[in-house]
Amino acid sequence: MSNTSENPNPSSSSAKITLKTSDNELFEVEEAVAMKFCTVKQYFEDEKDNDVAARGSSTVIPLPNVHSAVLARLISYCKKLPQSNAVADNHEEEETKKKERKQYGTPGDLVDLISAANYLDFKEGLEFFNQALADHIQNKSVEYVRKFFGIKGDFEPHEEEKYREEYAWAFEGVDED
């Protein structure tokens, strides 16, 4: 629950930006990392334009929609970006990427990361976490997906049966849960 993933080395020469999360934790983040979040970037540039924060690093940007635990994971993801951003052009690489995506385990975590990436307008991250979530639906049975994400089915049995008949081909050959 703390900002452990940020760079603890204060002597690093690159400029820092301070982000404040919904639970009032302060994160000092390298500018290059923070600028990946378009919402922060926009805010930062507006501040600059208005010349309010000529002292630069002392600006604190509030992110009332992002919890510290989520921000910490987003930042640590950002730092790994250069490697994981390469286009997967063969099967092996795709498998590696899949494993990488699996680390963002529980459904709740993924939803948080997706919401936060969406709010921060962090496109690469959003795409990555969307794919991580899609991995839990691809080739799975409806029952598995419901259970995994805690979705309550609210169709009448006959309605659901109708769907299963109409799209019969889609319902066959799923992976074991």
Binding site: S22, D23, T39, Q42, Y43, D46, E47, D49, N50, V52, P62, L63, P64, N65, V66, H67, V70, P107, G108, V111, D112, I114, S115, A116, N118, Y119, L126, N130, Q131, L133, A134, I137, Q138, N139, K140, V142, V145, R146, F149, G150, I151, K152, G153, D154, F155, E160, Y163, R164, E166, Y167, A168, W169, A170, F171, E172, G173
Partner: protein, 486 residues
């Protein structure tokens, strides 16, 4: 003003955020496993559905009423008929594709992937492809399985819809015909104009004649990437590839025994940067105006069949023509057989071009036999060679007396340019060590020798690696050269 507004904008959504709720009720949520995914905005859920194969996207309509219609806005459609009992499920599959195409919202398609057998349904499948083209699809990948049944019934070769060949929206087209018994004739309509097509890949097709092939290649004004994979050229005498924007060209010949190809490729590429070739040189490749070429890969194989068909001299002449066309490349990767192939016609060796830009030469596909005398002659023609890579190891034939062997003549680049040598799948045999010793003695300004050992070939483990390393350090002529094992 702007800041205030933005600050408020950032704050405003706070109350509706599921995250804010989470902060308060985290424990509760974790215990109950509540459905939070369904609270994500439609746009995000639709994006996630687009990442799925279509059958999985459609299946989510039964999760709950929240999900019922979400899939209908997907812009990528992927239909793959597969599995051992696909014949039994054929009717279901056909109905599924049709239902999805009808029910999906009428927005434009980004991607359409279809892989299925044609059987007796050529007209229905064509209608799907037409529908995708009408929805301005940008990326289209079609794999059609064509068996004897589907051909007997139609008598005619499969004809793809005409509208496909005049699509303005297509940027990527991949067309594959699957047929285990024979190859399928690709019928090309009389009018072709792909005004946006950048990538074209055609696999396992038989091109009908010179004119239709030429028609296809004149209808792709902005093509950048062309792959012709395992296509048959026995009806075609000559092909002129001259797309002005073409950057990457890959031609892989058929691998089976159908050796009736004998086609001449004339390749004009003002902007061509990468050329990949794989096959037995059943066809001839001539290059014109390709001074922009940066990198070429020649995967020449099929030694046994070339020798069986007594095509050695033909292959030798074709390798020679190919290399002449590639003489300005910076990076070249070849199979060792390219060098052996050259030796079939010794009179050509003297006429090999000088590769004045070549800085990196890589041997791929099989281990390099240093006993073959031609290697020395080739390296002689590479005055700027900086980096030499043996991807699949090296060896010295046992009949070559190890003590006597040396690379003859030693090329000038060994004393002026060669800075890095990499040997992968090193086995550490006496012959290999002899070669490495020789390379270290001859390369006067070498900076780096990287050796990665093959686990199944190299015996003796890390201890022996150290021993070999120390031994090699003694034979360095370049005192600053680092030797790395991995």
């Amino acid at each position: 003003m702007e800041i205030v507004r933005r600050r408020r904008a950032i704050g405003e959504t706070m109350n509706v955020s599921p995250l804010a709720r989470k902060a308060k009720n985290q424990k509760l949520n974790d215990e109950q496993n509540t459905d939070r995914i369904s609270n994500l905005p439609d746009a995000i859920l639709q994006r996630i559905l687009t990442l799925l194969e279509t059958k999985d996207a459609v299946k989510t309509s039964t999760l709950s009423k929240r999900w019922q219609y979400l899939w209908m806005s997907i812009t990528d459609l992927v239909f793959m008929e597969d599995g051992p009992d696909k014949r039994k499920k054929r009717v279901q599959f056909m109905n599924f594709v049709e239902r999805v195409l009808v029910l999906r919202e009428s927005s434009d398609l980004t991607l359409f992937v279809l892989s299925c057998d044609v059987l007796n349904d050529a007209s229905r499948i064509n209608a799907w492809i037409s529908a995708a083209v009408m929805h301005k699809v940008q990326v289209l990948s079609i794999g059609l399985g064509i068996d004897e049944d589907s051909r007997c019934n139609s008598e005619e070769p499969i004809m793809l819809p005409h509208c496909l060949f005049t699509s303005e929206s297509l940027t990527y087209l991949s067309l594959t015909y699957f047929n285990l018994e024979s190859y399928v004739l690709l019928k090309i309509p009389s009018s072709i104009w792909f005004s946006s097509l950048k990538t074209l890949k055609i696999r396992f097709a038989v091109f009908p004649d010179d004119r239709s092939m030429q028609r296809l290649l004149s209808g792709v004004p902005v093509l950048e990437d062309l792959t012709l994979d395992a296509c048959c050229w026995w009806n075609v005498r000559s092909v002129c590839i001259s797309a002005p924007m073409l950057k990457t060209l890959a031609i892989y010949e058929t691998v089976d025994g159908l050796d009736q190809d004998d086609c001449q490729f004339l390749i004009f590429g003002m902007n061509l940067k990468y050329f990949y070739y794989g096959g037995k040189l059943k066809n001839e490749y001539l290059f014109y105006k390709t001074s922009s070429l940066m990198k070429a890969v020649i995967y020449l194989g099929g030694k046994d069949s070339i020798e069986k068909d007594k095509r050695q001299r033909e292959v030798s002449y074709r390798v020679h023509k190919l290399l002449r066309g590639l003489s300005l490349v910076k990076k070249l990767a070849i199979t060792p057989y390219v060098i052996e192939g050259l030796s079939y016609a010794e009179e050509l060796l003297a006429h090999l071009p000088v590769f004045c830009n070549l800085t990196c030469l890589k041997f791929i596909g099989e281990p390099m036999n240093f006993a073959s005398g031609e290697l020395g002659n080739i390296i002689q023609k590479l005055p700027c060679l900086n980096s030499l890579i043996f991807n699949v190891g090296i060896f010295l034939s046992p009949y070559c007396e190890e003590g006597e062997w040396k690379l003859d003549p030693v090329a000038p680049c060994f004393s002026t340019h060669l800075k890095s040598i990499t040997i992968r799948e090193f086995g550490g045999t006496k012959g290999e060590l002899h070669v490495v010793n020789f390379l270290l003695e001859s390369a006067l300004i070498l900076e780096r020798l990287v050796i990665s050992c093959s686990l199944d070939k190299f015996s003796g483990g890390v201890g022996r690696q150290k021993e070999v390393h120390d031994l090699l350090m003694l034979s360095r002529r370049s005192r600053t050269c680092a030797i790395e094992f991995s």
